[in-house]
Structure formats: structure tokens, C-alpha cells
């Protein structure tokens, strides 16, 4: 407990130093607002859009796309990895196309997604999905392949159905590797979500950024950037909590 408290104190101190430096640059050093708005102005901009409700619309939109993309990417990544380990023939066929898709820079494909799937939510979700899918897929393949053969013997002895086998043995034992992929995927999802909103549409934190920079509202731009940082932290905390819940059996002896 004392250790955790000390960690929090450290975090707080680091944050205070950062804020002080920021304030120093805008106050005594007199940096112009259009380059670097003061902490107070940024805060006011943030409170401004929070009060009008604009912030929640944009934040909600971005968060919703990230969560949808993460869930869909996860389910699809795990499903394909499972099918490929169950049917090795499938792995032989799909290996080539998957390597090409995997190495293709998804960010560069983003404009293409807009052309194909329009300016709406679909193209955004597909971009996020494509960024989440591969790390999860690769983690899941590694997880399914590393299954202890003795566990397979156990499943066979107990005469488990395919579903029982997957639900009770294969999926839980692959979970640590899936999580490695998911954590990479979550960072990518945030990048993808913001990028997709830069390119098209009228919603989301990415849109708020392009709007603020186009109209030289630097405090608003800063507020939007800050919100993406907060969103990133929030995702990290959520995943860590989920990991602690699901993988507590794996952690070191206490």
C-alpha cells in the first residue's frame, strides 16, 4: 500500500513539474498563444466545450469507434487464428495473402478505405479493425500453437465437445498471448481512430483537432490533444484491469 502511494506521489510530482514548465514558457517567457496557449487558456477551452456538450459528442464518437474496432478485431483475430490451427490446410492457403495484408501499411490504405466505404462510420471502423486484427491474430496463433499436448490428451480423455475444448482449455491457455497482441492493438486503434477522423466526417476528437487548427484556435487544439492522451491512458487502465482479472493465475507468486 505504501509502495502504491509512493508511486502516486511520483506521478503527481512529475505532472506538476511538467505543468510548471508549461506555465513558465507561456507566462514569464511570453510564448504567443497561437504557438503555445497557457495551461489556463487550454483548460478554459476544454471547460468551454465540456459545458456546451460538444466535447462529449466528439469523445463519445471516438471512444465508440475504438471499442467497436477493438471488439470486432479481437473476435475476428481469435476466430481466424483458431480456425487456422484447427485446419492446417487453411493455414497453408491463407499464409501468403495474410503476410501481404499484414505488412501493408494500414495507415496508407486509409484514404482507400474512405473511397470504398464512404465518409461515415464504416470506413473508420474498418481502419481501426485492420489495425487491431493483426496483432491479436498473431498473438492468438502463437497462443493456440503453444497449447500443452497433455492438455489435448486431457480433453480427449474427458471426451470434451469442440466447444467445451475451446471454451475451457484452448481459449484460456491462449489468453496471455492474445493479450500481448491486444495491448499493441489498442494503441494502434487510438491512432487509427484519430487519423480516420482527420480525413473525413464531422465528429470525433480527430475532427476537433483539424477544425481547431484550421481556425487557429490553438487552445482548443491543445484541449483536443490532451483528451486523446487521456483516452489513451483510459484504454491502458481498462486493459490492465481486464488483464489482472483474466490472467491473475499467471502473475508471479505473492
Amino acid at each position: 500500500m505504501a509502495k502504491r502511494l509512493a508511486a502516486w506521489v511520483d506521478y503527481a510530482l512529475a505532472l506538476i513539474v511538467l505543468l510548471a514548465a508549461w506555465w513558465f514558457a507561456t507566462g514569464p517567457m511570453e510564448m504567443p498563444t497561437y504557438l503555445l496557449p497557457s495551461p489556463l487558456r487550454t483548460w478554459n477551452a476544454l471547460v468551454g466545450i465540456a459545458v456546451t456538450g460538444e466535447l462529449w459528442v466528439h469523445l463519445g464518437f471516438t471512444l465508440q469507434n475504438i471499442v467497436l474496432g477493438l471488439v470486432l478485431g479481437c473476435v475476428a483475430g481469435i476466430a481466424l487464428a483458431y480456425l487456422m490451427t484447427r485446419f492446417p490446410k487453411l493455414a497453408v492457403w491463407l499464409d501468403g495473402p495474410l503476410v501481404i495484408l499484414q505488412t501493408a501499411p494500414k495507415i496508407a490504405l486509409a484514404p482507400l478505405f474512405v473511397v470504398w466505404f464512404g465518409f461515415g462510420i464504416l470506413s473508420k471502423i474498418i481502419l481501426i479493425f485492420s489495425l487491431v486484427f493483426f496483432p491479436v491474430f498473431i498473438g492468438a496463433v502463437a497462443g493456440f500453437r503453444s497449447l500443452d499436448p497433455k492438455m489435448k490428451d486431457l480433453a480427449k480423455l474427458l471426451g470434451l465437445s469442440t466447444f467445451q475444448r475451446f471454451r475451457q482449455i484452448e481459449l484460456p491457455s491462449a489468453m496471455p498471448e492474445v493479450f500481448v497482441g491486444l495491448k499493441i492493438g489498442a494503441v494502434q486503434a487510438l491512432v487509427g481512430a484519430v487519423l480516420a477522423e482527420w480525413m473525413s466526417g464531422k465528429f470525433g476528437l480527430g475532427y476537433l483537432m483539424t477544425f481547431a487548427s484550421a481556425t487557429y484556435k490553438t487552445p482548443l487544439l491543445f484541449a483536443a490533444v490532451l483528451m486523446t492522451v487521456v483516452l489513451g491512458l483510459l484504454l491502458h487502465v481498462m486493459l490492465t484491469m481486464l488483464e489482472n482479472r483474466l490472467l491473475s493465475w499467471k502473475s508471479a507468486k505473492k
Binding site: K150, L154, L158, Q168, S173, W249
Partner: protein, 257 residues
Amino acid sequence: MAQSERMIDIAGVHKTFVADHGTVTALEPVSITIKAGEFISIVGPSGCGKSTLLRLISGLDQASGGTITLDTAGRKRPVGFVFQEPVLLPWKTIIENVRFPLDTAGVSRAQSDKIALDLIKMVGLDGFEKALPRQLSGGMRQRAAIARSLSDDPPILLMDEPFSAVDLMTRDTLNDELLRIWQSTGKTILLVTHSVDEAAYLADRVMVMTARPGKLKCIHNVDLARPRGEETKLDPAYHALVAQLRRDLRTSGGEAH
């Protein structure tokens, strides 16, 4: 104990594997009839096919020929199997692991909990129901594995070197507990081991197997009094049998101890 009904009938069962350079004989034809409630030990050097024989009986592998008949009245899970390692599911607690065969067979929670708790008590793990496998020692994990193999009450228990990974002291204790469990449940047990002492101490009959190719060399009846304990280990008949088993293994050029 000594009912005359046949539990396992093995007739001319053999196993060959197809390898890169031709076929390899893992097990030459074996025939033996095992009575219900009998305790059989199987000793032999590495590569004598003793584990193969267990896997064939359990249905994990298919024999290349011959027949294995189990008198288990069409049960879905006629055998319990204890592996060399515990093979517990590391994300489940001890009671969840012991209950696992029941849970996956659709037994109600109230009933399965009762059975699991009784078994946990029988193998001496009471108080560790909610512990995860990694929190237990190797010997305790193996006890949990034994409890799991008994939880859906199979008439036959197959054990593949179950105590080879635990220290000698624990091994002696576990052997005595195994005898106690066997006597209280009346299971038919086949136990594969490297140790001739263990084989002689536990069994009604000892199957001696030799390697390359794996085959059954001979079967010894063990006429030591039951229940067995420390005094059994002082019995000259016990020592004579152990010495005989050693000779059997040595003349075959095996590497057993």
C-alpha cells in the same frame, strides 16, 4: 477385493509407428487379463512401451492390431488417467480442477461440489480448495490430479509414472495414500513406474517389460500380505521379489534402476 470378473481383457495388442526410415515397433503383441479391483504395476526401462500400453487402454492412441475389451458397461469415460505431470488447468482453482470432469459432463453444481470436496479431503488437500495450482508444491498438485481422475468415478485408474517428479519422501507418503485410496474405492489400477521397489510394494501383480522392441517379458504375482506398510518393506519376501525384478530387468540389458 479379488472378484473373479474380468475388468480389462488385452489380447494380442501391438503398436507400430511409421517413422522416416520404415516402421518402428513400439509394442510387440501383449496379452493379459486383469480382474476387477486388481492393482497392477508395470516396470521397465525407457522405450519398453509401458506408457504406450496405457495410452492404448485409455483410448488416447489406437492399437495397430489386437483387441482391448473393457468391462465398463458402455460408460462414456471408463478410465481415469494420471499423467507424469499433474496437467491441472492453471487458471482454475483446485476445487474447479477436481470438479472439471463433472462440470463438463453436466453434473449439477451442488452434487459436483460435494464429490469434489470429499475427494480433496481424501487426498489430504482440505484447506486448499480455493488455491491455484501454482501455489501448491509438486506433490500437492499430483494429489489434486489424482482427485480429478477419480471425480467422475471411473472403474479403472491408469497412472503413468505419477510420482516420478516428486521427491523420495513425498513419494513414499503418496504411495501409502494411493494404497489407502485403492482399498477404499476398489478401483482397478494400472501403474507404470521406473521403480521396482514401488512396483513390488504396491501391486498384486507386476508386469516386467523390456525395450527395443517393447514387449512383455514376464508377470510376477506378489503374495505379500495386505494392508501393506512399513513392515512390508522389512519382509524378506519383498526383498526377494525386488531382487528378482532387478535381475529380470538387468538380463534384458535395460537401463532401469
